[in-house]
Every structure is written in structure tokens, then in C-alpha cells.
């Protein structure tokens, strides 16, 4: 799992690549939380384009980050999930809470 985080102008983009499961989610959570706490972005984008696998651990990860970003008055968006990952997102109903682009 690789994470590339860039911030500026109140916006943070985190590009994830690899497989997102319960094991890798722990590292991603730690990195994203560190960034959210220091940057307090108005808009946080998690780019899923290069995530090749995700199970329901990813849903927990997104929901947790959404709460944290919202706590600072910001919004979280999920960008470019692959079709199979979109199915899990749809099943979870997360699109009612987080904008998926």
C-alpha cells in the first residue's frame, strides 16, 4: 500500500495505491489522520484510482475519516473507485454520507 498526500489551499488529496484490507487500513488510517489533524482541510479527497482491491475495511476507513474531517468543518470526497469497489460502496450506502466522484 502506497500513500501520496498533497495539501494546499485548504485542500488535501491522498492518492492510495495497492490493496486496502483490514491489515493495510491501519497504516492508511494513521497517515491520513496525521495529515487531517495538522492540515484540517476544508476538502479532503481520497483518490481510489489505483486501489486494486478493497473489502469492507475500506468502508470503515472512509467513514472514520469523514467524521474526523467533518469535525473540523471540512468535507470528504472519494474519487475514481474501480467498478468492483463501487459495488461495495453501494452495498454499504456510504454514498449517502460521502460524495463519490
Amino acid at each position: 500500500m502506497n500513500i501520496d498526500i498533497r495539501s494546499g489551499n485548504g485542500m488535501t488529496i491522498a492518492r492510495l495505491s495497492g490493496e486496502l484490507d483490514h491489515h493495510s487500513a491501519a497504516t492508511v488510517r494513521e497517515e491520513l489522520d496525521r495529515c487531517i489533524l495538522t492540515q484540517q482541510p476544508k476538502l479532503m479527497i481520497i483518490d481510489f484510482k489505483d486501489i486494486t482491491f478493497m473489502d469492507s475495511s475500506g468502508i470503515g476507513l472512509i467513514m472514520g475519516r469523514q467524521k474526523l474531517v467533518e469535525g473540523f468543518g471540512g468535507k470528504l470526497e472519494v474519487h475514481r473507485p474501480q467498478p468492483h469497489i463501487q459495488r461495495i460502496m453501494k452495498l454499504s450506502g456510504i454514498e449517502r454520507i460521502v460524495r463519490i466522484v
Binding site: E19, H23, F53, D55, H84
Partner: protein
Amino acid sequence: MKIINEIKFIMPSLSVNEAAARAVVSSFLIQCDPTVEELADLRTAVSEAVTNSIVHGYRNSGGNIEITVRLLPDRVVFIRIKDSGCGIADIEKAMTPLFTTAPEEERSGLGFSVMQSFTDKLTVKSRPGKGTVITMRKKLAAHE
């Protein structure tokens, strides 16, 4: 029922093994030439079941997880994930979408829902203090 081929492996309940379990199951299933979607469904279902054993079954201890994959006639895939963890007292409750005993670990409570949606048949057998056995079946689409 006749078993065409079978693989069985045992691994300790370490979270790093979640990816290994998916990889072994994927490699074994390649011989059936599944579609990309079918393979993704089964990989996800295995990942959910193995994670359940690690996070819930062996919550306060370690143990082994036994994974069996069988190829049955008519392109039916059978997968069994067995642990000797704490077991599930109320299976019906555990299978309720969004129910989780580990909210502090950001578990979404969707594991069984995903297993149900991505396979044709899911069976959960469990005895508190003894462990849990999850079996899943999925019929792969016929070849053209």
C-alpha cells in the same frame, strides 16, 4: 458430491495473512478461468471471512485459520473458512448489516453482507468458545 480439485491451507491469524489468503485462493481458482468480476467477488468474500476470524474470532488471542477451496461439478466453487476462536453467540445478530462488536476499530459491520452479496450461498456455524465455520458457494458462469 464429487470433488474435482481441492486446496487446503492453515495460517496463523495475523492480519498480514489476509492478502496471502486472497492470493492463494485466486491462484487456485485461475484453473477455472473465472471472469474478473467472479474472481474479485470470491477474493473479497475470502478477505471478509478471514478478517472476521482475525478481528472477532481471535480477538484476545491468536490461533489458526483453516481455509479449504473445492472445485465441484458444474463450475461450483466451495470455500470454507474455519477458526477455533471465541465463536459467535448470536449468529443472526452478527449477520445484521452494520452490526459490529468492534466499532473502535472502525469495523463497518458489513462483512457478512458482503459475503452474502458476492456468493450464492453463505452458511455460518458457530459455537461460543469453540469457533466458527463459514462456508460459501458460488457457481461460475458457463464457458462460451
